[in-house]
C-alpha cells in the first residue's frame, strides 16, 4: 500500500475516529483535571471569560441520563457532585465534606457540607441528595448501572445520606464523583423542561436566552455557590464544533479561547500566540479479544493465540504513522495515570511476527483461522493496518459493516469474537468494571478467570490505598500476561489555550471539567 496515501487517510481518520469514540463510548472522557492552588487565589472576584469547543453536543441534562466524556463540561458546571476527583486522580470532598464506609463495606455514610443552595435559592439537604440518588438508581438510563450495588438510600438527618449496599463496590465513590453523584432537585426533575434546563446546585447556571441546545451553551457563574472561588471564569461558553478545521479557524479568529488541535496544527497555533498542552493519553485503542473463552471462536481460548495477536502489531509505527506521535504505544488497557498502570509491563509484547506465527503453530493454528469483526466508524481508519498485521500471522479478517448508531451495540451483541474499540480512559475502578465485571460493556461474553475474580473481590474490600494500588497492579499484570486483550496505543489530545488561560490537565483526572482551565490574567 502506498505509504503516503495510508498516512493521509489515517490522519483524516483519527479525528473522525476519536469523535466517534466520544459519541459512542459512555465512558469516553476528554482529559481534564483539577486546578492547582492558583485557582483559589483567582476566586470568584475574577471576571475572566472562557469559550471552549467540544465535539459532541451534551445529551439530556436529566441526572439519570447524563453522559460522561466532553458532555460533562456542561452538566458538571450546572450540577454539583457529592465528591470530586482532583488533579492527581484522587477523590476529594465536594458537596459531601466527609464519608465513611462501615467495616463490612456494606454501608456508606456521607456528611453534606452546610450552606449549599439550589439556583432557585432553596437549601440543599440530605432529602434532595437521597431523592436524586434514588431516582437515578431506579430510572433506566446511563447512570442506573453505576448505582447497581446500592440497595437503599436513607437520609437520617438534614446533613447525612446513608447508602446501603448489596455487595461491596470499589467504583462507588468514584461514581459519586461523576455523573451518578450529581445533586438535583427531585421535585422538579420529572418536569419536561428539566432535561434541558434543570434546577441544580452547581457553580454555574445555564443562560437560557443565550443557549441554543445542541450548539452553544452559555454558563453564568453563581456567586452564591459555596465554592465559587474555585471557578475563575465568570462566564463559560461551550460551543459544539465537530470539525477540527473549524475549531482551528475559530481559535485563530478569536472566537474561542480553548480547543483541541491536531499535531499538524500545533506550530501554527503557537505562532498565533496560543499555548499548547499535550495530554498523552485520553483513550485507549484496544483490539478487544471479547470471546477469550472461545465460545464463538475456539482459537481465542488459547493463550498462545492471544499472545500471538499481541505480537503481530508494530505499535510504535502505528503511533508515528497514524497518530503522528500524538499518543503512545501500549499493551495495557488501563489509564497510564491510574493506579493499575505499570510501565514495566510495556515490554511484554514486542513486535515479532515470526515468533507470533510460531506461537500460532504451537497452538495448532499453523494455517491460521478466519474472524469476522464489526466495521464501525471507530474502526474504519484502522482496518487496513489491522487486516495486514493479523494477516501476516495467518488470521484472516472479514470486516462486517455496522451502521454508525450500532457501533457500541455491536460490541455487546455477542456476535463478534474480536472488536476494535476506542475506549475513553477512566479511573481504574471504572475501567476494571467496564472491562472485566460480569456485566462489563467490554466483556460481552462474561469471561471469568478465578484468579482475576479473586483479585477483583480483594480490591473491592480493600480500604487501604497503597494495598489497593498493589492489587490493581496485580490485576493489570494478570490481564497483560494472559493477553486477555490486545491493546494497541493510547490516543492523546492537544489543547490550545489563548494567552491568559491555561489547561491544567495531564490525563490523571478523566472527567472533562471547567476546573481543568485556569485564568492567569
Amino acid at each position: 500500500m502506498d505509504t503516503r496515501m495510508t498516512r493521509s487517510r489515517f490522519r483524516c481518520g483519527i479525528a473522525a475516529a476519536f469523535t466517534a469514540a466520544v459519541l459512542f463510548t459512555s465512558t469516553a472522557c476528554a482529559g481534564g483535571s483539577e486546578p492547582e492552588e492558583a485557582n483559589a487565589t483567582n476566586g470568584a472576584s475574577s471576571n475572566a471569560k472562557l469559550a471552549l469547543a467540544v465535539t459532541a453536543a451534551p445529551a439530556s441534562l436529566d441526572p439519570a441520563q447524563l453522559q460522561e466524556g466532553q458532555q460533562s463540561y456542561v452538566w458538571g458546571s450546572v450540577f454539583d457532585t457529592l465528591l470530586y476527583v482532583d488533579n492527581d486522580g484522587k477523590l476529594q470532598p465536594n458537596a459531601a465534606e466527609s464519608w465513611k464506609f462501615s467495616d463490612d463495606g456494606l454501608s456508606l455514610s456521607l456528611t453534606l457540607r452546610e450552606g449549599m443552595t439550589f439556583s432557585n435559592g432553596d437549601t440543599v439537604t440530605a432529602k434532595e441528595v437521597a431523592g436524586t440518588l434514588e431516582r437515578t438508581r431506579t430510572t433506566p438510563g446511563q447512570q442506573q448501572g453505576k448505582l447497581a450495588a446500592v440497595a437503599s438510600i436513607e437520609a437520617p438527618n438534614n446533613r447525612t445520606v446513608v447508602l446501603k449496599l448489596k455487595q461491596p463496590e470499589p467504583a462507588l465513590l468514584t461514581n459519586l464523583a461523576l455523573a451518578a453523584g450529581v445533586i438535583g432537585d427531585p421535585d422538579t426533575l420529572n418536569e419536561k423542561t428539566s432535561a434541558l434546563d434543570p434546577t441544580a446546585s452547581g457553580p454555574y447556571t445555564l443562560d437560557k436566552g443565550a443557549t441554543v441546545a445542541g450548539t452553544t451553551y452559555v454558563l453564568n457563574r453563581r456567586d452564591d455557590y459555596w465554592n465559587a472561588k474555585a471557578y475563575p471564569f465568570k462566564t463559560v461558553t461551550v460551543r459544539v464544533i465537530q470539525d477540527r478545521t473549524a475549531v482551528f479557524n475559530a481559535l485563530q479568529a478569536g472566537e474561542l479561547d480553548a480547543g483541541n488541535v491536531d499535531p499538524a496544527q500545533v506550530k501554527q497555533i503557537e505562532g498565533a500566540g496560543f499555548k499548547t498542552t499535550k495530554v498523552e493519553a485520553q483513550a485507549v485503542a484496544n483490539l478487544v479479544l471479547a470471546d477469550r473463552a472461545g465460545t464463538l471462536l475456539k482459537p481465542l481460548a488459547d493463550e498462545r493465540v492471544r499472545k500471538a495477536i499481541n505480537m503481530a502489531f508494530d505499535r510504535e509505527k502505528m503511533v508515528q504513522q497514524v497518530l503522528r506521535g500524538s499518543g503512545k504505544a501500549t499493551v495495557q488497557i488501563f489509564n497510564p495515570k491510574g493506579a493499575a498502570y505499570d510501565a514495566a509491563l510495556e515490554g511484554s509484547y514486542k513486535f515479532d511476527p515470526a515468533a507470533a506465527k510460531k506461537l500460532m503453530a504451537d497452538a495448532g493454528y499453523a494455517d491460521g483461522f478466519d474472524v469476522t469483526m464489526p466495521a464501525t466508524v471507530i474502526s474504519k481508519s484502522f482496518e487496513p493496518l489491522i487486516t495486514q498485521a493479523l494477516g501476516d500471522i495467518g488470521i484472516r479478517v472479514t470486516w462486517e459493516p455496522v451502521p454508525p448508531q450500532n457501533a457500541a451495540a455491536a460490541v455487546s451483541s455477542k456476535k463478534y469474537p474480536m472488536v476494535f474499540f476506542l475506549d475513553g480512559l477512566n479511573v481504574t475502578q471504572r475501567e476494571l468494571q467496564n472491562n472485566f465485571s460480569d456485566a462489563g460493556f467490554l466483556n460481552p461474553f462474561g469471561s471469568k478467570y478465578p484468579e482475576l475474580t479473586e483479585l477483583i473481590t480483594q480490591v473491592s474490600l480493600e480500604r487501604d490505598e497503597a494495598k489497593a494500588t498493589e492489587l490493581y497492579k496485580k490485576i493489570n499484570a494478570f490481564v497483560v500476561e494472559n493477553a486477555l486483550d490486545a491493546p494497541l496505543f493510547y490516543v492523546g489530545t492537544i489543547w490550545a489555550t489563548k494567552d491568559g488561560i491555561e489547561y491544567l490537565g495531564d490525563g490523571s483526572n478523566t472527567l472533562s471539567t471547567i476546573r481543568a482551565f485556569n485564568a492567569t490574567k
Binding site: S60, L196, N406, N434
Partner: protein, 313 residues
C-alpha cells in the same frame, strides 16, 4: 389551478407517508441499539427491557408508526431520545439556519447567472468567453478550498467576518448577514457556475429561433425580445436545473455547516442518524420530503406562470 395544487399536495403527502413509513421500518432494526445507547455501557437485561418498554419499542412497528403519525397530526413531533429537545422546534430552528444560507445563496445565484448568462448569450465575443471562463472556474475549484481561503483572509487575517457560528436574523440582522456571508459566497460560486451555463445555452438556442427573427422584423427592440420573450422561454429548463440545485445545496449544506460550524439541518440530520435518534430522524425525514415536494411544486407553478405553454394545470 387550485385543484392542481391540491392534487400535487395530496400526492406529496402520500409520498411523505410512504417515505416516513419506510424510514421507520428501517429504523426499527436499530431499536435495540438505541436502547443500549441510551442506557450506556453498565447495564442489565432488566434495564434494557424497562427502557424498551418506556420508549414503547416493544409494540408492533406499525402501531408505533401510527402513534407517531397521530402525534404529527396533532402537531407533536415527539422529543429527541437523547437530548429531550422537542423535535418540531429543534428541526425548525436548524432548518432556519440552512434555509437562510441556501435561499440567500439561491437568490444571488439566480441574479448572477441570469445576468451573466443573458449577457454572454447576447453579446458573445470576449464577454461570452469571460462568462464561460468564470463558469468553468466555479465548476473546477472545490468549494471547500474557496471557503478556507475566504476564512483565512476575511475572518482570521482581516477579522471582518466570523469564521464560525450563526446569529439568527431576529437576534441581530447585521450579525446574521455577517455569519452567512462566506457560506453564501461558497454556495453561489458553485451554483452560479451551473446555472449560468444553463441560461447561456438555452438563451442562445432561443435567440436562434424563428419567432425571434419575426419579432425583429416587426421592429421590436432587442431588449424587449431578450427579456420579454427569449428569457421567458429559456427560463423553463433553467428553473428545473435551479430546483435541482436547491436540493443539491440542501444536501451539500452539510459540508458548509461543518466547515463554518453552523447549527444547520444537514449537521443535525447527520448527527441524529449517527446516534440513532429515531424521533429526530423521523421529523427530519418528514420535513425534507415536504420541503422537496413544495419546491418542485413551486418550480412548476413559476414555470407555468412564466411560460403558458408549460402550464400543466
Amino acid at each position: 389551478m387550485i385543484p392542481y395544487i391540491l392534487r400535487r399536495f395530496g400526492a406529496g403527502i402520500l409520498l411523505a407517508l410512504l417515505v416516513t413509513l419506510i424510514t421507520f421500518t428501517l429504523l426499527s432494526f436499530s431499536f435495540d441499539a438505541v436502547v443500549r445507547a441510551r442506557l450506556g455501557s453498565a447495564t442489565t437485561p432488566e434495564a434494557v427491557a424497562a427502557m424498551t418498554a418506556t420508549l414503547g419499542f416493544d409494540r408492533p412497528v406499525l402501531v408505533q408508526y401510527f402513534d407517531w403519525l397521530g402525534g404529527v397530526l396533532r402537531g407533536d413531533f415527539g422529543t429527541s431520545l437523547f437530548t429531550s429537545e422537542p423535535v418540531g422546534p429543534a428541526v425548525a430552528s436548524r432548518l432556519a439556519v440552512t434555509l437562510s444560507v441556501v435561499l440567500v445563496a439561491l437568490v444571488i445565484t439566480v441574479i448572477i447567472s441570469v445576468a451573466l448568462g443573458v449577457v454572454a448569450a447576447t453579446r458573445g465575443g470576449v464577454v461570452d468567453r469571460l462568462a464561460q471562463a468564470a463558469s468553468l472556474f466555479g465548476y473546477v475549484v472545490p468549494g471547500l478550498l474557496i471557503a478556507i481561503v475566504l476564512v483565512v483572509v476575511f475572518a482570521i487575517n482581516l477579522r471582518l467576518l466570523p469564521a464560525t457560528g450563526y446569529t439568527p436574523f431576529n437576534v441581530n440582522p447585521s450579525k446574521w448577514a455577517a455569519t452567512i456571508t462566506i457560506p453564501v459566497i461558497v454556495l453561489v460560486i458553485a451554483g452560479a457556475a451551473n446555472i449560468t451555463a444553463q441560461v447561456r445555452g438555452t438563451m442562445i438556442d432561443e435567440l436562434r429561433k424563428d419567432y425571434v427573427r419575426t419579432l425583429r422584423t416587426r421592429g421590436i427592440s432587442t431588449r424587449s425580445i431578450v427579456l420579454k420573450h427569449a428569457l421567458r422561454n429559456a427560463a423553463g429548463p433553467a428553473l428545473t436545473v435551479l430546483s435541482f440545485e436547491f436540493i443539491t445545496m440542501l444536501g451539500g449544506a452539510l459540508i458548509i455547516e461543518k466547515v463554518f460550524a453552523l447549527p444547520g439541518f444537514g449537521t443535525f440530520a447527520f448527527n441524529s442518524s449517527l446516534q440513532g435518534d429515531i424521533t429526530v430522524i423521523m421529523g427530519i425525514t418528514l420535513f425534507s420530503v415536504l420541503l422537496v415536494v413544495s419546491i418542485n411544486l413551486l418550480v412548476d407553478l413559476v414555470n407555468g406562470w412564466l411560460n403558458p405553454k408549460a402550464r400543466i394545470f
